[in-house]
Symmetry: D2
Subunit: 269 residues, 4 copies
C-alpha cells in the first residue's frame, strides 16, 4: 500500500524565534520512502537536522520575524496491515530486559509512575502478566478517559488525566504508559500520522496522532489507548519517554500556530 502524507504549518512571530521541530519521518521508515522526503521552509531560511538521544530527527530553524511556513509531502510504502496482536507475547522479568529498555520503566514529565503505582497494582496486579495485562490497561485508559479537544492542556499529566477523566490522544497514551511502567512493562510514547484508512471517514480535520509501544516478548508492540482497536497506516515521526521528548515543535519564545493542515491518505502508485 502507498500512503501519501505531509503537512503545512504556519507559524507567526513578532521577533525571530528559535524552534526545534520533530516534523520528519522517523528514520526507521526511511527505507519505505518512494518519493523524496523534504521539509520546505517558506521563506527559504537555513534549517538543519540532528538526531536526538532517542534516534528522532530534530530540525532546528529560526522562525523569522513575520513568520514561517513548514511543508512536507511524501509517499511511503506500507504493508497495509493493521497493528499486530501477539497475544502470547510474554512479559519479561525486569532482570531480563535489555539495558537500553530500562529507561522506559522510569517516570517522566507527564508519566508520574510514583503517583500511580498503587493504583496500577490494585487494578492490574491480578491480571495475567504479558499481553493480557497491557490490554487490560489499555481498556481501562480507553474507558476511564473521555475524549474531547476542549480537554487538552499542555501541563496535563497521566495523573491529571486519571483524576480528571478527560483528555486527548496524548493523555490516553500518557495514562496507559504510566500504568504499564508501574507494572514493570516498558512503554514509550509515539507520535505520527494516522489517517482513516480501513475505517469509516472521520468528519474532522486531520491531526497528528499519539500512541505508544510496549516491550513484550523481546520486541516493541503498538498499542493505542485512544482508539483501542488495531489500525492501518501509522507513519511514525518520533518516539521517546513522553510528549516532552516528541513535541512536534518547541519554540523558545512566543509563536502562534496560525495554519495547520495534515494529510495522510492511501494513494495508488
Amino acid at each position: 500500500m502507498l500512503i501519501r502524507t505531509g503537512y503545512d504549518m504556519r507559524f507567526e512571530t513578532e521577533v525571530a524565534t528559535p524552534m526545534m521541530a520533530m516534523l520528519s519521518l522517523h528514520p526507521s521508515r526511511n527505507k519505505d520512502l518512494v518519493t523524496p522526503h523534504r521539509i520546505v521552509a517558506s521563506p527559504d531560511v537555513p534549517i538543519y537536522d540532528y538526531l536526538d538521544g532517542f534516534g528522532n530527527v530534530c530540525t532546528r530553524v529560526t522562525v523569522p520575524a513575520g513568520g514561517l511556513t513548514l511543508s512536507c509531502d511524501f509517499t511511503v510504502q506500507d504493508d497495509g496491515l493493521p497493528d499486530r496482536v501477539v497475544a502470547d507475547a510474554v512479559q519479561h522479568a525486569v532482570e531480563d530486559l535489555p539495558d537500553d529498555v530500562l529507561i522506559f520503566l522510569l517516570g517522566s514529565r507527564y508519566c508520574e509512575t510514583d503517583r500511580l503505582s498503587e493504583t496500577a497494582w490494585s487494578l492490574f496486579g491480578h491480571v495475567p502478566a504479558g499481553w493480557e495485562r497491557v490490554q487490560a490497561i489499555v481498556d481501562f485508559a480507553h474507558n476511564h478517559v473521555q475524549f474531547g479537544y476542549q480537554f487538552a492542556r499542555p501541563t496535563k499529566t497521566a495523573w491529571d488525566a486519571y483524576q480528571e477523566q478527560q483528555g486527548v490522544c496524548r493523555d490516553f497514551a500518557h495514562l496507559a504508559i504510566t500504568l504499564c511502567r508501574c507494572m514493570n512493562i516498558p512503554a514509550r510514547y509515539c507520535t505520527g500520522y494516522l489517517g482513516d484508512i480501513g475505517i469509516a471517514p472521520v468528519d474532522a480535520p486531520m491531526d497528528f496522532s499519539a500512541w505508544f509501544d510496549v516491550y513484550l516478548g523481546g520486541a516493541w508492540h503498538v498499542f493505542d489507548a485512544r482508539h483501542n482497536t488495531p489500525r492501518i497506516g501509522r507513519i511514525l515521526m518520533a518516539r521517546g519517554r513522553d510528549a516532552t521528548d516528541t513535541a512536534l515543535t518547541t519554540t523558545f519564545g512566543p509563536a502562534q500556530l496560525v495554519g495547520f493542515e495534515v494529510h495522510t491518505d492511501e494513494v495508488t502508485g
Copy 2:
C-alpha cells in the same frame, strides 16, 4: 589533593529483586583514580555495568532474597579548588546552543517548566542574562526553600518545592534547574559526593549530595542551590535531566535500605 570516597549500603528484600544502581564514579573522573574503583557485592552475586544515554555508569544486579551489601572505597585526585565563579560567562541565544544541550531546556519529571515559566520570567526577566541571572535564580531557590530532611518526598517536584517552600538538596536543585530552563538556560541535575573539606565539620551523618550544572559561555558550570557557596571536593557520580535519571538505586519490587554509610574525606598520599 587526594580524596578517599566510598559507601556501604545494605538492602534487604524477601524475594530476589532486580536493581539498577548509579553508584559508580562518573566516567569524567576515571582519569583521576589513584586506586582501583570497584563495587563489591556481598554476597558476591553477578553484577554488570552499562552506560545510559547520558553517559552515566549504571549497574545491574539482582538483590538476592535475604539481602545484599554494596560497598565501594577508592581514592581520587582532585584539584582542591572551590567551584569556579566565571562571572562573565555569557548566556547563549537558544539558536547558538549545541544540539545535544537542547534537551536540558525541556521539562522533565521533577522540573515542570510549563508550570513555572511565568513565575520565572516575572522574577528574573529583568536580571541581566548570563551568570548574574543564574546566580539570582540560585539565590532565590536558596532563600525560598527551607531545608529539612523531614521534608523529603519521592514525588516532590520543583513546582511542589516552590509552593511548599520546604525540601532537601534535590528539591533545591530541581527548583533552580526548572527556573533556569524557563529562562532558556540549559541546566542538568548532578549527584555525587560532597564532604566538608574546607568548611567547618558538619555534625550529621554524611550523605550523597545533589547540585546542578548550567551551560553558559560554551561550558557547563557547577551551581549548588542548597549551599549557595563555592565548595571543594565534589566527586560526580551521575548527571541527567533530574533525579529520575540519576537515582542512586531503583529497585523493581520492595527493598529496604537498612544500612547506609557514605564517606568522602581528604587524605594524605
Copy 3:
C-alpha cells in the same frame, strides 16, 4: 551448559607503559554471567573501562615498571548448541541493509577489499547469493590457507594471506571477511574464547580464537574459516572491522607478554 572461562596474562616492561585491553566479556553476554566478572590486576593499580564505537569494553591501565598481571575467571550460562546453520538466510540487496551495517562492507587495515574484489567476483560470482555463497567463501579460505602458528605476523593482511596461503585463525578470518565484503555481504571480525567442548581434546595450549559474523536474512550469523565446522561454546569478547579494532591488548611502548594462560571449559553447576 555452564562454561568457566578466564585467563592469566603477565606483561613486563622497563618503564610505565599505557595499555588498552579488550579482555572483558562482550556486553551481549552480560546477562549470561552466573558469577561475577572482574579483571584482577596485580599489583592492584587503577584500571577503568569504557565502551568503544563498536560496543566493546575497553580497559585502560598503565603497566607499571616491572610488570603487571591481569587475570579473569568467571562462569557463564551457554545454550550449549553448535553454531546455527540457517541455509535459507537470504543475502540482502545493499540498498536494503540497515545503515549501521554498511561499515562492514568497507575496507579496513587487514581487509583490502579493493585488492581482492576481482578475485572474489571471479571465484564466487556464479555461486548462488546468500548462505551458500558465504559457505563457498569459507570453504575456499579454509582450504586455501595452511594453518601454522609460525605463519603469524602482525602486519599480515587478507591479501597477504591470500598470496602466501599460510596463516593463523585471524588470517583465515580476514581473508573470508574480505571476500564476503567484496561480494557485498557485510562481515565483521570477532574474537573470544573457544574451547574444545564437543570435539576431541586438542593437544595444544589454549588460546583466544578469531571468527567472524556475516549479515544475512536480517541477522548476524557466525562463521569460522579456521575450523569450518559448527562449534559449541564461543564466548565473545570483542567485534569490529578487523583485528585492529579488537586487539586483546595494545601497548603504547615496549612490553613483553611473558605469561599467558587461557581456560574455557564446561563445568557442572
Copy 4:
C-alpha cells in the same frame, strides 16, 4: 567572510546501483549556514541521510539505470582566518588522552602504523614532542612525496606513498597521519572544500581536498601535508580514520563519474 560552496556530480550506470555518499556539510558547520543546504537529486529519487559512527552525514540513494546528478549549492559564514598555529600545544601522554581519541592512534586501511613505526621513530624520535614534532612530520611528508594527479590509485596506502614518493593530497595526508600515529599522536583524516581564498588563483579545475587533524593540547588542530602552509576557508565535509571512512561516494556496483564540478569561493553578502 561568506563562502559559497557546492558541486554538481553526474554518475552513469547501466543498472540501478546503490550508493553511499558523504557529500554534505559536516554537522560541526551547520550553525554557519546562511542559506539552506540541500542535496538535489536529478531525477528526483528518494534519498535519505544517516549519521555514521564518526558523526558524518551519510546519504543513501540508488542511482537509477541511466544515471543520476547530485548537486549542492550553499553559503556558509567563515571566520576567514588561516589555519591556527599553536606552537605551544603539548603532546599528551597516551594515558592522558580521552577515551574516544584512542582510535585515532590505531592502524587503518591506508595507514599501516605497524609498517612505518620504525621509520617514524628513527626520523622523529629526536624531535621535541608536540607541535614541533607534528610540523616535522608534515614537512617530511610534504617534501618526500611528489604531487601529481597521475599518481592517484585507489589502493595506495601510506606505506606505498612512502615507498613510491608520489601521490595526491590524500596520500600526503595518509603518510603524515600514519607517522603521527606511530609517534603516539592521534591523527584523523579530513575531507572537504578548499578553494584559493588568500592565495594566487590556481589554474586547475577545483576538486575536493584532503587534510588532517592532530590532537595536541586538548584539542584538534588542522594540518595539511599537501600544501604545508596555513590556508583560509576549509569547509569540512567528513572525517574519520582515513579515506575509507570518508569516501565522497561508495557505489556498490559499476558506476561512472561522468561529470564533476566543485566550487568554493568568497562571496559578498
